[in-house]
Symmetry: none
Subunit: 283 residues, 2 copies
Amino acid sequence: MNVLEKIVNSVNSFSKSERKVADVILANPQTTIHSSIAALAKMADVSEPTVNRFCRRLDTKGFPDFKLHLAQSLANGTPYVNRHVEEDDGPEAYTAKIFESTMAALDAARQNVDINTINRAVDVLTQAKKISFFGLGASASVAHDAQNKFFRFNVPVVCFDDIVMQRMSAINSTEGDVVVCISHTGRTKNLCDIAAIARENDATVIGVTAYDSPLAKECTLVLSLDVPEDTDMYMPMASRVAQLVLIDILATGFTLRRGTKFRENLKKVKDSLRGSRFEKKDF
Amino acid sequence: MNVLEKIVNSVNSFSKSERKVADVILANPQTTIHSSIAALAKMADVSEPTVNRFCRRLDTKGFPDFKLHLAQSLANGTPYVNRHVEEDDGPEAYTAKIFESTMAALDAARQNVDINTINRAVDVLTQAKKISFFGLGASASVAHDAQNKFFRFNVPVVCFDDIVMQRMSAINSTEGDVVVCISHTGRTKNLCDIAAIARENDATVIGVTAYDSPLAKECTLVLSLDVPEDTDMYMPMASRVAQLVLIDILATGFTLRRGTKFRENLKKVKDSLRGSRFEKKDF
DNA sequence: GGATAAGTTGTAATTAAATTACAACTTACT
DNA sequence: AGTAAGTTGTAATTTAATTACAACTTATCC
């Protein structure tokens, strides 16, 4: 909750002096954020510690922290909140909500992601003899996308969304091969099996999945995203977007690791598409 | 102008140490507003006065004032700026940049998207006898994802990433069928043909593509996203994420339009997956 | 109605943070 | 190589915020 609202709501629990402080702040919030504690105390005609106590009562660390919160409240509230779509939302409402909750999810993922593991995953991928991407259901399209990205790198890449093909592919994997298993929940039995089989055959298994899930336990390396989304109830949306962004990050790490010369190769792939497209100037 | 943008814009006018400060702030803006000048100086490996000078250069009164502005930027409209990955970025840097530019792209898309067209697209989709999703290359995985979503709705859905299959499918389409063509650039010749063929056969063609592109011209309805990404040079990243979110929005609009009874059907699809998964409590 | 305990407020001391002044160093140009 | 402009860091200073504690207020119980 926004600090300003909080002040209004807890006006009753304030003491006399604290209330004076609240009044002054509510009357000139913009001035407050540019005042020192001394100035504010003077305006409210109370002592400095009173102002400090007031801030603490609002669950902030102290006066400077309180000002930060207040500044954010003034800049029209919280930006991306994970708001759920409701029955009677119109197109405007649900469009905004989906955009915002996706952004909130990405923001959460960004903060939770483990850079070290990403770095190790990039290491492993750059050294792979062959890379396989496996996913089922909604994660299958993420796997496809990954294939589309890594394929440009001139590395053998395969992608299967069929359990039988995945199984065969996993059985044939050998040391130096990298298998990437994608599953938001990490509880898809078939995929856990695939991971186990691949590992038994000495492949390195990277899991793009929930930390501590059954799938995670079968993996050499786990890239967990921790997007709070209940895919048991809702369609996978934000979780899958976060997975895609993770793939983007791995692909980017890959290109950077491979150096400049290698990037010319990317250009070649791009150029090869030219014939199949209308030129920009054409219209 | 927002301080974050200002930092990005004036990166060139910064000195070496100031740039270090800028990088640290851009990488962890949220941490910054809760740090002291000493902590930030240490993180950026510069002296405290350097941080102070950095703040002044950005037309703030000093460090505390700078934090206030930063807090407001974070709360405000566009916190995430589209920064490009550079040669010598480490894992931390490129991870942050990709997350941020994706979020910036979503934010841009959110502002540009036309709610009316979305509403009309939802209309058309809910009344479709059959829905087809077509995409090539990176957009193929978006098409797959769309299939995975709409398939749950108990409507005939097909998805092809093969030109020949797409062509045959388009030729066989009839009135009441909806064809969704996905292409970021809108300049993929084959897909333009598909759209034209489908239209000739009286299908409604929805284009998820750039406004004013050759593909757009062939469509009945154009959902344009206007994500500034040069896919001629770089791999499609943010653009494709935006497309996915758009698909999420259409799917959501679809369920909402179909009413409560229909949503029980979704639950059934979900329940059918149960057997293939480990239960949550299992581990 | 006074005694006491709980709660509130302010003063003064302490601690922490930010800023300034200045010196050392680096870079670019002559 | 020498010099001036610009950049950076150290140490001193100033300012701000917090803590500890004492004084006061209010409410409650005998």
